[in-house]
């Protein structure tokens, strides 16, 4: 089979999830839960097979291909075709998205089976997989699009499905509206980023006259120095888009709230795939980033700052999923920083490795949460406002959930960067590159890595070690096989994931070199590797000193609280970022909206313009028309006409005597007159 035959199969990678979406949308309620889940999983599984075939095809023809599907938009100069770009970069993403996504789908069958029962609405089960398939479709469109516009379609599609899935239990959460608010927040904050993306697209079209990646890049390359300003502007606005989707400063606030969605959603969308779309998009635009002047520095600084800020916040979280959420933001910061310093391969490498171990961590956390929830029901404890996400009610789960504990430990160590797990290699590659390019960024990232190991150590110790701090934790049991099996598979990936770009062999670098021309091979700096490993170990040791040696009591304050003092208060309050935005934007916006509603709309438009000017004016005008114009002029005119007719008629009526002789005389006289006129004239 030739490479071209295999490339021509590429549209199927989108088609399968789309069919799954349509099928579950139409028939999801009529088939069993397991059926709906299997259809969605099989769709992703088939997409994964297609992705592997694309990988094989790239082995035959590394240059890749553009698969034209249809003419999409043709307005004047703007011509956008719907086409798929199959190259090493997009196929790397395809493999990751469909592979990890497939495992999460299988896990979700087991997880959602229990979740819909805990939440009390089993009929919502198929809807979950409808949304999941919709997400996969959009994500694959995003990854394969060969132009900014097709990518944007996927970009918006994943945003939509993210919104739908965050507020999946829209009637639950704080005050019965918390989940809906979280979904809304994610959607609106993402819109801010999307605006950046749109502006970038407009500039691109205005400057280059095309929206296709290849054409833009080749033109930018041909123009050279003339395109520097445009490239800078475009990449800056693209970065705004990436900051929204990939949760970077200043648009990261939505991601922690997005944990309101069911845990498989957190794993698939808010850890492994969708949030990495920003990094993928920036790497895709590497040729422009290479041209741009200011942007790479901005990206590197923002990424590093986000990595540190989010890591510091994660230290003070008690919600098991929130720790992972801030950890995700922090790791995305690593990737963004890698893009900023030009280490595109390292960014993609960390993206893939992170997808493995963060999906693993989230899914394991889901397993833990559901275990505790089961325990809560089993123990029949009457604790009010019991929160199964709270690490303070856990503890001692090591012996109760053996498999979950081990895979969680693997994920945590991979994230902490302990060799030889995946996170060690990928994070080290970023740090090694940063140490050459930008020492400030390097040290910030090292500090963030130190905090990473600390908060993961803290989490593992709080959740799995010590003694159970609640009856629910005591009664916790291991999760079913559909949930555990994907965990084990992901754990294997988290252990071996580092091999995809292992130092010395660098298969991923070689692979991506086909697409990202001119990238350098990263060097493995032993000193940095040893430093970060030691730091991670020290950090975990520190966590053990604080949380492991004497496990915290159920209601006792966190041991850091007294030691850190004001810093603890700051990180406990997430550096008041949400409060700041609330004060700066939300409150201004609400008061502006209120002013618009009460003054501009109610008083001005409604009371004055509408009631006084239009309604009253209309009443007056019609009153004048009715009483003056109509009654005095028009009515009188017609009355007069009527009277005139009546009088004229009664006058003429006199002539009608009814006597034949009179008529005869009239005829006769008339005849005489006519004849005499004719004769005389």
């Amino acid at each position: 089979m030739t490479a071209d035959t295999l490339f021509s199969l590429a549209p199927l990678v989108i088609l399968f999830p789309l069919l799954g979406f349509v099928f579950n949308l139409v028939a999801g309620r009529r088939i069993s839960e397991r059926g709906a889940g299997i259809v969605a999983s099989a769709a992703v599984g088939l997409a994964f097979v297609i992705a592997i075939l694309q990988f094989v095809a790239l082995g035959l023809d590394p240059a890749g291909a553009t698969i034209h599907i249809a003419e999409w938009i043709a307005i004047g100069e703007l011509e956008v075709d719907w086409a798929l770009q199959i190259d090493t970069l997009s196929v790397t993403m395809l493999l990751m998205v469909t592979g990890v996504g497939g495992l999460i789908h299988i896990y979700a069958i087991g997880y959602m089976h229990d979740d819909v029962r805990f939440q009390g609405d089993p009929s919502r089960f198929p809807r979950f997989f409808v949304y999941f398939s919709l997400f996969m479709t959009a994500m694959l469109i995003l990854v394969t699009g060969n132009s900014y516009l097709t990518m944007f379609v996927g970009w918006e599609g994943v945003g939509l499905s993210s919104y739908l899935l965050i507020s999946f239990w829209y009637e639950k959460g704080e005050n019965g509206i918390g989940n809906a608010l979280a979904g809304k927040k994610a959607f609106i904050v993402n819109r801010v980023g999307d605006l950046g993306f749109i502006i970038a697209m407009l500039i691109t079209f205005w400057f280059f006259g095309t929206l296709t990646f290849e054409e833009v890049f080749s033109e930018a390359e041909a123009m050279g120095a003339a395109a520097v300003t445009a490239a800078t502007a475009i990449t800056l606005f693209l970065f705004v888009g990436a900051a929204g989707k990939s949760a970077q400063i200043p648009l990261f606030v939505w991601l922690p709230d997005a944990m309101a969605g069911p845990t498989p959603v957190s794993a698939l969308i808010h850890a492994a795939t969708m949030v990495t779309a920003g990094i993928y998009m920036l790497v895709r635009n590497a040729p422009l980033l290479e041209l741009a002047t200011v942007t790479p520095n901005v990206i590197a600084i923002v990424g590093a700052a986000t990595a540190l800020l989010a890591a510091s916040i994660a230290v003070a979280r008690f919600d098991i999923k929130r720790v992972l959420a801030y950890s995700t933001i922090s790791q995305l910061g690593f990737m963004i920083a890698a893009v900023g310093i030009g280490a595109y391969v390292a960014a993609i490498f960390h993206l893939v490795a992170h997808a493995f171990f963060k999906a693993l961590l989230f899914l394991s956390a889901g397993s833990v949460i559901q275990g505790v929830e089961h325990g809560h029901h089993h123990a029949d404890s009457a604790e009010e406002d019991f929160n199964p996400n709270d690490m303070r009610v856990m503890g001692g789960l090591r012996t109760r959930m053996k498999v979950t504990f081990w895979v969680y430990l693997i994920g945590a160590l991979a994230l902490a960067g302990i060799p030889p797990l995946a996170g060690f290699f990928s994070k080290d590659e970023i740090l090694a590159d940063a140490s050459h390019v930008n020492p400030a960024v390097y040290w910030v990232l090292v500090l963030a890595a130190f905090l990473t190991a600390f908060y993961m150590g803290r989490q593992v110790l709080m959740v799995f070690f010590g003694k159970p701090r609640s009856k629910a934790a005591e009664a916790t049991k291991e999760s079913p096989a559909t949930m555990v099996a994907p965990l084990v598979a992901l754990a294997v990936l988290a252990v071996g994931g580092g091999l995809i770009n292992a130092p010395g062999l660098l298969p991923l670098t070689r692979f991506l070199q086909e697409t990202l021309a001119g990238i350098e091979e990263p060097e493995f700096i032993a000193a940095i590797a040893i430093l970060t490993t030691l730091l991670a170990l020290a950090s975990i040791g520190l966590a053990w000193l604080l949380y492991g040696r004497r496990p915290i009591k159920s209601r006792a304050p966190d041991p850091l609280q007294s030691r850190l003092g004001p810093v603890w208060i700051a990180i406990r309050h997430r550096w008041w970022v949400d409060e700041f935005y609330d004060w700066l934007i939300v409150r201004r916006y609400v008061s502006m909206a209120r002013w618009l509603a009460e003054v501009a709309d109610e008083r001005f438009l409604h009371d004055w313009v509408h009631d006084r000017v239009i309604a009253l004016g209309y009443v007056r005008a019609t009153h004048w028309l009715a009483s003056v114009l109509d009654l005095r002029f028009i009515d009188r005119g017609f009355d007069g006409l009527g009277a005139l007719t009546r009088r004229g008629a009664s006058g003429l009526g006199v002539l009608q005597t009814g006597y034949v002789r009179n008529y005869a005389a009239a005829v006769f006289i008339g005849l005489v007159l006519v004849v005499s006129y004719l004769l005389l004239s």
Partner: protein
């Protein structure tokens, strides 16, 4: 052709007859008499036609007279029928009694 009778005599006779007929229509109230007066006017016209036909030496005037006589016959038939109908309704043939169209 009677000697001494010229065109002018015929026209004078025709005019006198016509005037008598017209006055009869206008003055008399009896429907039958009015009818007879109309006949008088028609025949005055016939007389003029014949007179002209003779003096002009053309036959068309005489042809017209036949038409007029035929029309008059038809008219009499309808007119008398009307008069009979009026008499049955009103018990009189005084035309002044039939003044329902007075305005």
């Amino acid at each position: 052709m009677i000697p001494g009778v010229s065109m002018i005599h015929i026209l004078i006779l025709s005019g006198v007859l016509f005037t008598l007929g017209a006055l009869g229509v206008l003055i008399r109230r009896n429907a039958i008499v009015m009818f007879m007066s109309i006949e008088l006017m028609l025949n005055a016209a016939n007389l003029a036609f014949v007179g002209f036909a003779r003096s002009m030496g053309a036959l068309s005037g005489q042809v017209f007279v036949f038409f007029v006589i035929a029309v008059a016959a038809a008219e009499v038939a309808i007119g008398l029928a009307l008069i009979v109908a009026v008499y049955r309704n009103r018990g009189s043939i005084d035309v002044d009694m039939v003044s329902d169209l007075k305005g």
